[in-house]
Structure formats: C-alpha cells, structure tokens
Subunit: 333 residues, 2 copies
DNA sequence: ACTCTCTCTGAAACCGCTTTCAGACATTGT
DNA sequence: ACAATGTCTGAAAGCGGTTTCAGAGAGAGT
C-alpha cells in the first residue's frame, strides 16, 4: 500500500504538501498541486484512515445504537442517519440494544470504545435518568432519537406522541364513534403514556367520558395486541372502534377481532400508530398515524454533525408532527 | 484521556509491559500485571483504537454492504452479522447500495477506504462478473451473502433457490393443484431464475406440462406482484394456485386476487417465498418458503472471521436449505 | 562455581498521517 | 533600493499504540 511518503517522493514535494493538497488546509501552488494529484492518481494512493484518525483524533464515523436492526421502523431510522452522514463522507457504525437495558449499556460502552465522533441512540429499555447521566458524562456528542427527555431536550429528536394519540382518537370521534377502546403500550415507555394522554385529551375535547374498562395494555407487540383485544372483548365493554398504540399491536388486535367474528371496519373500526410497512399489507389496509422514522434519523444525524461543527445547517427540526394516514380500517358509524 | 504512558508511569513499568498485559502477547510477572491492571482501573484507561489500528493495521471492524438497511430481510442479515462479530469484540460498519449498481460500487469503495478487516456484501444490482472482479482485486476478505456465484463459490453464503422453488411448487401439487401459476422475479437475478427452475422441475417430476402462459414477471416488489396477477387473470389461463417468487409479490398478488373477487385459499391457493415478517400479517397468513436471513448473515460473518484467522470454527454452512412454512393460504383441491 | 536456558523487561523504532514553526521567495509600497 | 508583507514550502515533532531486540536475572544442569 502506498503511503503519503511515496506520493511525496514521486511528486518531489514534502509530505506536508501532500497533506495540504489532500485536505485543502493551506494554499499550495498550482504546479505542486498538480504534481501531487498526478502522483496520487498514479499510485492509486488512499490515505490511511488509522493514521489520519490518530493524528486528528477524529474517526469520521458516527455510531448508532438502535433497539433492533431488523425492525422496519428502526431500520428506517438507520437509513435516515446513513443518508445524511455518507453525504459528508462519514461512516456509520451500528450496534443494537435488543430492548434490554444491560445490553444497551454494554453496546453504548462498546461504541464509545470505537471513538466515533458522535453517537445517536434509539433505545427503549434504559430509563430517562440513566440516559441523562450517559449523555452528561460522555465526552462526545450524543443524540437521542424517538424519545423526548426534558432534561436534555436539545439533544432529542422526537415525535409529538400526545398529538398523535389525539389525532387517531379524533379521527374516530369524527366518524361518529363514542365507545373507543385503546390498546396501550407499556406504561414504562413515555411514548406509550403520551399516546394514551392524547387519547384521553381527544375524548375530553369531545366530552366523551374516559372509561377505564376500554383500555387494555398490549405492549408494542403483535401478541400483546391480540391478547389485549381478547381481554377487551371478554370484558364486554361494548366498543365500536379501537385505537391501538402501534401498528404491531393493531395487527394482533385485528387477528383477535377476526377470530371473534367481527369485521373491520364494518363492525369495529381500527386505527394504528407508526405507519410501518405492515400497515399496507394488513387487510383491511390499516388507517394509522405516521411517524417519519427516516426523517427523524436524518434530523438526529444533522444535529450530530452540527455539534461537531461539520454542518452549518440553519435549523433542524427536533419535534416531528404525526400525520394521519387514512386507509381502509375505519368506517363511519 | 489517559494514554498508555500514563498507565506505565503509574504502574512503574514500561509501555511495552502495559501493552503486553493488555493483549496477552507475552508473559508478564504476576506482580507487574497486577500493578498494571490497578493503574488501568484507577485511570479508567481505554486504549486508543486509532493508535492500535495504526500499529497493527487491523481495524477490528467488519464492513457490511446491503441493499437496503430498512428492509426486514436485509435487516435480519445485518443482525446476524452483528451478533457474530460483536461476540469477538469487533464493530460493524454499514452502508447500503439501494439496488443500484453505481451506488453499490461507490459504497464498496467507500467501505474499503475505511479499511475494515473484511467486507460482507449483500447486493443485487452489480452483475456476477463485476463482483468476481471486485473480490479478486480486493486485498481484504470479501464474502457474498444471499447469492451464489460459481467462480467464487467458496466466498458465497446462499440459499438453494432451485430446491426452494421446487418445494413451493410440490406443496401445491401435493394438494392436488395442476394449473399452478408463477409470478417470477426479474430474469436478471439469479435467485429469481433459480426459483423458476425449481418450479419447472417440480412440475416435470409430477408430469405436469410447463405452460408459459401461467408465468408472469412481477419482480420482487408488491406492485409488480399486483400487476402480474392482474395480467394472469386477464389472460384467463385458468389456474387454481399461484407460487409467487417472494412474499412481497405474493402480497401484491393477494390484493389483486381479492379485488377480482377471488378468495384465498378457497378459490386460489397462494405460496410465497422468503418468510418475511409480513407473511404472518397477511390475511390469510401466507404459506411460504423460509429463507433464514439471520443465519445466513451469521454464516457470512463466521466465514469472514475465519479468513481473518480469528475464528477457528470447524465448518460453516454456506448453502442453506429452504423450509416450507405452512400457514393458511393453501387449500387442497 | 560456571555455563546454559528460560522467563521477563524496557528502550527505541515504527505505523502513516497532521501540524507547527521557521524560513525562502516573491511582491508591494515608499 | 530597501523594508515590509504575504504566499508557499519542508523539517521535524507529535498522535498513542505495538513489536523488535538485547539484556537482566533466576533456575537448572554439570
């Protein structure tokens, strides 16, 4: 592998000059610049990243820690991050936390060892206080995506989940539904709590009393949604619509409804949340609240680049607004 | 940040000794080792990756180039890779090719610049010959996953797609179907051609004549599957079952069948391929041929580690066998 | 007691780049 | 013509590890 020395000798200049034309850090006369470029070309020289990083103490890479790489949602976030940083010639190092706080911690430490220039976290299991601690103690910029933590709000990119929950619920209210069930996510998760809050807020706005028996916890998974729906049906609470706190639990709920002989949307209307890939594929296609994962990943990456002083971007959106995606799972009552 | 010098001074030994206890590259007396470990602990010392890489010319990272990070299938591959290499303390650098050969090439070059220790490619657009060239010219180990290229077979981890196509088709034959349509992938892709070959082979085994009018090209996307199914219906070729070459095109086909007023599986049986996430979520749940993406990613990673001499693994499976996943989209005729 | 191993150890070179610093040269102003 | 300024340039000192090499000391064998 040719080194900068080889280039400098071939071009009959010093290594410093080669470095300067490579990085544009100082003016170089036209003739020397051309000689250097020719030599680089000729030798097919590629600077050694390791040496460069050692000298500059910059890795030109960003680390991303996500819950699960193979999930459509988190994959979109990663894709968003990637698109932004590759544009700046930076690489992306990934690791996943598998929704377990111990794994999240060790992955976090693991990524820090690599000394990426910044870190973007999308994790669920670690609680707010710990996360704040991590961010505070880190000597590199850390951004949080998909979650709002007030103490470090300026480092968070998040969706307005309260509004999202309200949008979903309002949509059902507007279609004439009054008995609206809710399949909630785990109370531990702020996202889930916020969506529930939005649900209650929309109900209150419409003067519909909040009825606890219409709410069941399903978690954010299909199976949980299935069981929550079974429970709601057993309770005999009598509802005409359901707002599931994410698309996966909506899919589970759909399955349970179908097994109970109820048709969607004819007998029961259903709204999901997230607008994952699967929302299209379900039958009926799921009306849901869209969360722009890729854009959120991009925003997080931009913020990271900004705190590195690489990006001079004017303003980056940190708070994203949910949008209702109307499909076929809601009928007017 | 403390350096190895700080550690050596605090422990009253040379840097060489610290390095030795860090890497276990040479025996160190018990007393010194303990002094060193204590100093490391005390200073919270973390070796500088850049310096280490520069000295050893190893990055302790593996690069993965995948078609699309946000796809469930490719995400699973990445997850498989990650699980294996993190176990060995190595990091994963990712980039995506977006199914465009120019992007694939530039991403490939981009990853090489980073000097990861090995590269794992899962890409569609670049053709076999170019890929062979890339692998041959690279000075680092390159593995291919999800694709078989005979010239570099030993670097490929792949599914036996011919058998897969045959399994799907045989399943329909066994259920009494004789007029079996096929929604093919793009002829450009070996995977697609192989699945078609498997389809024809199974038909031949059962003495069912191959009928060209029962085959339509749908590509590996939902929309393509939808249109291919429309075309098949228009042709009026009269079939009782369909083998779609992947789950996405099966989903599209399902939609078209439903719009045509045909019920699955009562009127038409349907088999997909890949066993993506969505196969569960479709209604009826899709019977499909499973491709073990995560395991294939793991295998590719193991092979990479083996060619780096890191892993002493005995034997790694490179050829994976497809498995039929029976669900609800097939009925006996 | 003396050599011969064997086990540890530290000094120093090296990995390939960036950056400082001082100086060479050309240009400008007076 | 001379000083003052500005533009380029190269030597050399890092960056923080690993590894070679030679040597010190301990134990074994005669």
């Amino acid at each position: 592998m040719p080194t900068i020395r080889d280039v400098s000798q071939l071009a009959k200049v010093s290594q410093a000059t080669v470095s300067r034309v490579l990085n544009g850090t100082a003016p170089v006369s036209r003739s020397k610049r051309e000689a250097v470029l020719a030599a680089i070309e000729r030798l097919a020289y590629q600077p050694n990243t390791f040496a460069r990083s050692l000298a500059t103490n910059r890795s030109h890479a960003i680390g991303a820690l996500v819950s699960e790489l193979s999930s459509a949602a988190y994959g979109d976030i990663v894709r968003g991050i990637e698109s932004v940083i590759e544009e700046r010639g930076m690489h992306l190092v990934v690791s996943s936390g598998h929704a377990r706080s111990d794994v999240e911690l060790s992955s976090f430490e693991f990524l820090k060892e690599r000394r990426t220039d910044a870190l973007i976290l999308q994790i669920d299991a670690t609680d707010d206080d710990d996360l704040v601690e991590w961010v505070r103690k880190s000597d590199l910029p850390v951004m949080i995506v998909g979650r709002l933590i007030h103490a470090i709000e300026e480092r968070c990119v998040y969706l307005d989940n309260v509004t999202g929950g309200a949008i979903a619920t309002r949509h059902l209210l507007e279609r004439g539904h009054r008995r609206i069930a809710h399949i909630a996510g785990l109370k531990r998760l702020a996202d889930a709590r916020d969506r529930l809050t939005g649900y209650r807020r929309a109900l209150a706005e419409a003067d519909v009393a909040y009825d606890e028996s219409l709410v069941a916890e399903g978690g954010f998974i299909e199976d949980g949604g299935y069981r929550a729906m079974e429970e709601l049906l057993e309770r005999g609470a009598g509802f005409t619509a359901v707002f599931a706190s994410n698309d996966q639990s909506a899919a589970g709920a759909l399955k349970a409804l179908r097994q109970a002989g109820l048709r969607v949307p004819d007998d029961v209307s259903l709204v999901g949340f997230d607008d994952l890939f699967i929302a299209h594929y379900l039958h009926p296609a799921l009306t849901t609240v869209r969360q722009p994962f890729a854009e959120m990943g991009q925003a997080a990456a931009r913020l990271a680049l900004m705190s590195l002083g690489i990006d001079e971007e004017k303003e980056v959106t940190r708070r994203f607004e949910p949008v209702l995606m109307e499909r076929d799972s809601v009928a007017a009552r």
